[in-house]
């Protein structure tokens, strides 16, 4: 029985000339776990909104072709009718919370259906237990973190036990641990409840092991609809930016088939006697020692910085850090570890309750949401024409800042904060919602700036991105620096804060990227 059936479906947003979905043919059957892949702007979010009826009933626009969701024609049934069958989760948790407490939020969709109080209470309890948020049920929603809000929103989507779950980048707000937990949960719902899962994700390595199928979109059309290993073969040939690190490693070694994840990659390497013998992980890297004297050549120095809230917890505890010109530093840690607070101290937005921060020169801080920097109607009002041309955005002068792509928004915001002239650049979760190509561009930009003497400090949840740009990595936990080392050391020895390549090779030779791994394995073979 099909849960989603699209035949020759074309959809165009109001005012757009080009269709967002172009002659899409797709059938998803009950109980499948389907990953939607594609670069930014390829139509992933539109497809998910179509599954929930938001497109076209809420967004407007023109629709041609046939679409059926859970046996209901999309032409005759809108989101209200589909809500009984489809649970939806969008990217931004802030706008998905309507009520004052998670308990009321989870009850809301059930109450809308006129469920009796006992069913509402049971639905709330079960969804909360499934997501591990029972302890949050009576908290005020405005006190929850982004990750907690995302879980509550997912709980609201699950509370009615939908047949189809449509999730648009559900892990984009989450740290690696919470992201893995969420995907594990989706797998369990899929296996035990038979819920069909339709999820779009940029970090494919996270979810391919759970997927039954991958649908890749290119410019609104289905370019590939296949099982994960066939999709990876297709990506290798047609769209390398969608290839996972594990698949790139195996392909670079001239081996096959393309692995879905760490386990399969290890099996392939083992079959060819290439899998390094697991050794004891290297000793945990030590945080930098406290230095008593200031170093005038340092671009930034934090000495015993504490941030303690009035009547609240300690966010940063005795953070001591010295950053030299040209260093590229990744700051990693779980949600709430203190990464964003650390960057705010560096930029002078916060005053330490104890300790001192000394930064030399201009500090450019780009906060999580680049849109927060835009206060004008047009891109041309944000920056003068010469500067716009310098950052390659002159062709967007008459666009609204909110209508340009994520990468372009970030470039514009970087220009606004003066990153091109800054001696210290701080970025807070810059890769949220970015595809691999945009991340590669950002990493290249940061390396370029470091080469001219700027120091770079990036708070990120993304170990692959950290491996791509950083020369030093810092791990924060509960406001303390618990590790400070080269990325090859820090990102190769753990489970969560480790790249996929490092996990495959058990941290062998500190290889973090497929290219480093290939070189290391060849060296080992020669030896």
């Amino acid at each position: 029985m099909s849960t989603l059936e699209l035949r020759e479906l074309t959809y165009t947003y109001p005012g757009d000339a080009r269709p967002a979905l172009d002659r899409v043919n797709l059938t998803i059957t009950q109980g499948e776990f389907v990953v939607i892949a594609g670069r930014s702007g390829s139509g992933k979010s539109t497809l998910l909104e179509l599954a929930s009826g938001i497109v076209p009933h809420f967004r407007g626009g023109t629709l041609a072709g046939h679409a059926e969701v859970c046996g209901l024609s999309l032409r005759e049934n809108g989101p209200a009718q589909l809500a009984a069958h489809v649970g939806t989760l969008f990217q931004d948790p802030e706008t998905q919370i309507l009520m004052g407490t998670p308990r009321a939020e989870l009850a809301f969709p059930l109450e809308n259906r006129g469920a009796d109080p006992a069913s509402v209470a049971r639905g709330v309890e079960e969804a909360a237990l499934a997501l591990g948020i029972t302890h949050l049920l009576d908290r005020r929603t405005q006190t929850l973190s982004g990750g907690e809000l995302q879980r509550v929103a997912l709980g609201a989507a699950l509370a009615g036990r939908p047949r189809l779950l449509a999730l648009d980048e559900p892990t984009s707000q989450l740290d690696p641990v919470a992201g893995d937990e969420l995907l594990g949960l989706l797998r369990r719902l899929n296996e035990e409840w038979g819920t069909t899962v339709l999820v779009s994700e940029h970090r494919l390595e996270r979810c391919l092991t759970s997927a039954d199928r991958v649908v890749a979109l290119q410019a609104g059309s289905v370019a590939c609809d296949a099982q994960p290993s066939e999709f990876l073969d297709w990506a290798h040939d047609q769209e390398p930016s969608l290839e996972t690190p594990a698949a790139r490693l195996i392909a670079s070694l001239g081996l096959d088939p393309a692995p879905r994840g760490v386990k399969e990659a290890r099996q392939i390497l083992a079959r060819h006697d290439l899998l390094p013998v697991p050794t004891d992980p290297p000793p945990p890297p030590r945080p930098a020692r406290r230095r008593r004297r200031r170093d005038p050549s340092a671009q930034l120095e934090l000495r015993d910085v504490w941030h303690e809230l009035d009547h609240g917890p300690t966010i940063l505890a005795a953070v001591t850090l010295r950053v030299m010109a040209g260093e590229l530093i990744a700051v990693l840690g779980r949600n709430g570890a203190g990464k964003s607070t650390l960057l705010r101290h560096v930029a002078g937005l916060l005053e330490p309750t104890r300790g001192a921060v000394n930064a030399t020169g201009h500090v450019a801080l780009l906060l999580q949401d680049p849109s927060a920097y835009f206060t004008h109607e047009h891109v041309s009002d944000e920056l003068p024409p010469t500067q716009l041309a310098a950052v390659g955005l002159a062709h967007l002068a008459e666009h609204r800042p909110r209508d340009i792509s994520g990468g372009e928004r970030q470039r514009l915001a970087l220009a606004l904060v003066g990153a091109d002239e800054a001696s210290l650049i701080c970025l807070d979760e810059p890769t949220r919602g970015m595809d691999r190509a945009a991340k590669a561009q950002l990493a290249a930009y940061l390396r370029e700036r470091a080469a001219t003497g700027a120091a770079v400090l990036v708070a990120t949840h993304d170990p692959e991105f950290a491996a791509a740009f950083a020369t030093r990595a810092i791990l924060l936990a509960d406001g303390r620096v618990i590790a400070d080392a080269p990325p090859a050391n820090l990102l190769s020895g753990g489970w969560y804060f480790a790249t996929e390549t490092a996990r495959i090779l058990h941290g062998h030779a500190g290889a973090l990227t497929p290219e480093q791994a290939v070189a290391a394995l060849r060296d080992t073979a020669r030896a």
């Binding site: 929930s52 009826g53 938001i54 009933h57 809420f58 809108g78 989101p79 209200a80 009718q81 589909l82 809500a83 009984a84 489809v86 939806t88 969008f90 931004d92 802030e94 706008t95 998905q96 919370i97 309507l98 009520m99 004052g100 407490t101 308990r103 009321a104 809301f108 969709p109 109450e111 809308n112 259906r113 006129g114 469920a115 009796d116 109080p117 009576d138 005020r140 405005q142 609201a156 989507a157 009615g160 930029a347 937005l349 450019a364 801080l365 780009l366 906060l367 949401d369 927060a372 920097y373 835009f374 206060t375 004008h376 109607e377 909110r402 606004l416 904060v417 003066g418």
Partner: protein, 286 residues
């Protein structure tokens, strides 16, 4: 103004009972002009705020409404032609005519201002102690869509405040931060996008196909009963006093009022009735 969860009897009572209690206090404030009874109601409100552990919030509301009350008193003194005790003769003020403020007009305005400030204080108590979700759940059975519109409105306020804070913080990192007006414009421009996002969430949660929710039928707690009884008693006493004119007070043409034993006893009764439900603190935690 937002809900402040606390382990107190008023918070533990169901939203309808707590709302009736606050409504009864407002009714009592609006039905009397006797300064003695208004003073008693001020004490009752203060005790209720302390009992609900939201004293600081209520005090802040008084701080904010006090200037408004003062303005009411002064304007009444300037525009009213009533009263016999002239305090000063300011002569002809053009459109305002002859301005001769009287003691009676000043007192009348002060009483009106006090009623206003007390009403604001009770509303602050209500917003801090009554869970809006629970209240809206009760209201939904009467008018679902109105209740939901109220939910959205209440959700938009913190969301836009969050946007303003986020944009303000981002601007602080710039060499030349945008002026406040530009931030406000950006927030209001965002408001439409935010409202659309929230509306999309409402759609996927099944709002448009809403059926009337059923009553939850939970047993009434001791706090539900105590606050409902207190509300009924305060409202009944206030109406009786008003109907039978048991605590008379008139400002014009000259100040006349009863400040004897009966109004004093009524004031005392109002304080006791308002404070009594807070005496029993069993079962207030979550």
């Amino acid at each position: 103004m937002s809900y402040m969860p606390r382990a107190t009897p008023l918070h533990a009572a169901r939203a309808s009972a707590a709302s009736c209690y606050c409504a009864a206090l407002v009714l009592a404030v609006l039905l009397t002009r006797n300064p003695l009874l208004l003073a008693a109601l001020a004490i009752a409100t203060a005790l209720a705020a302390l009992g609900a552990r939201v004293g600081a919030r209520v005090a802040r509301s008084l701080y904010l409404s006090a200037p408004m009350a003062l303005v009411v008193a002064l304007v009444n003194a300037l525009v009213s032609r009533n009263g016999l005790t002239v305090l000063a003769r300011f002569g002809d003020w053009g459109p305002l005519g002859q301005v001769d403020p009287t003691l009676e007009a000043l007192i009348y305005g002060a009483i009106f201002g006090a009623q206003l400030a007390l009403t604001v204080a009770v509303c602050a108590l209500w917003s801090a102690a009554v869970d809006p979700d629970a209240l809206l759940r009760s209201l939904r059975r009467v008018s679902f869509r109105s209740a939901l519109t109220a939910t959205l409105a209440t959700r938009m306020v913190p969301l836009l405040a969050y946007d303003a804070q986020r944009i303000g913080e981002a601007q602080r990192t710039l060499h030349r931060p945008a002026p406040r007006t530009a931030i406000m414009r950006a927030v209001t421009t965002n408001a439409l996008d935010r409202a659309l996002d929230i509306a999309a969430t409402l759609e996927v949660r099944g709002y448009a196909g809403t059926r009337a929710p059923r009553a939850h039928g939970l047993p009434r707690s001791r706090h539900d009963l105590a606050f409902t009884a207190a509300a009924a008693a305060i409202a009944a006493l206030a109406m009786t006093v008003a109907l039978l004119d048991l605590a008379p007070f008139a400002a014009y043409p000259e100040l006349r009022g009863d400040f004897g034993a009966l109004p004093l006893a009524i004031g005392g009764a109002l304080v006791v009735l308002a404070a009594a439900p807070f005496a029993n603190r069993r079962g207030t935690g979550r």
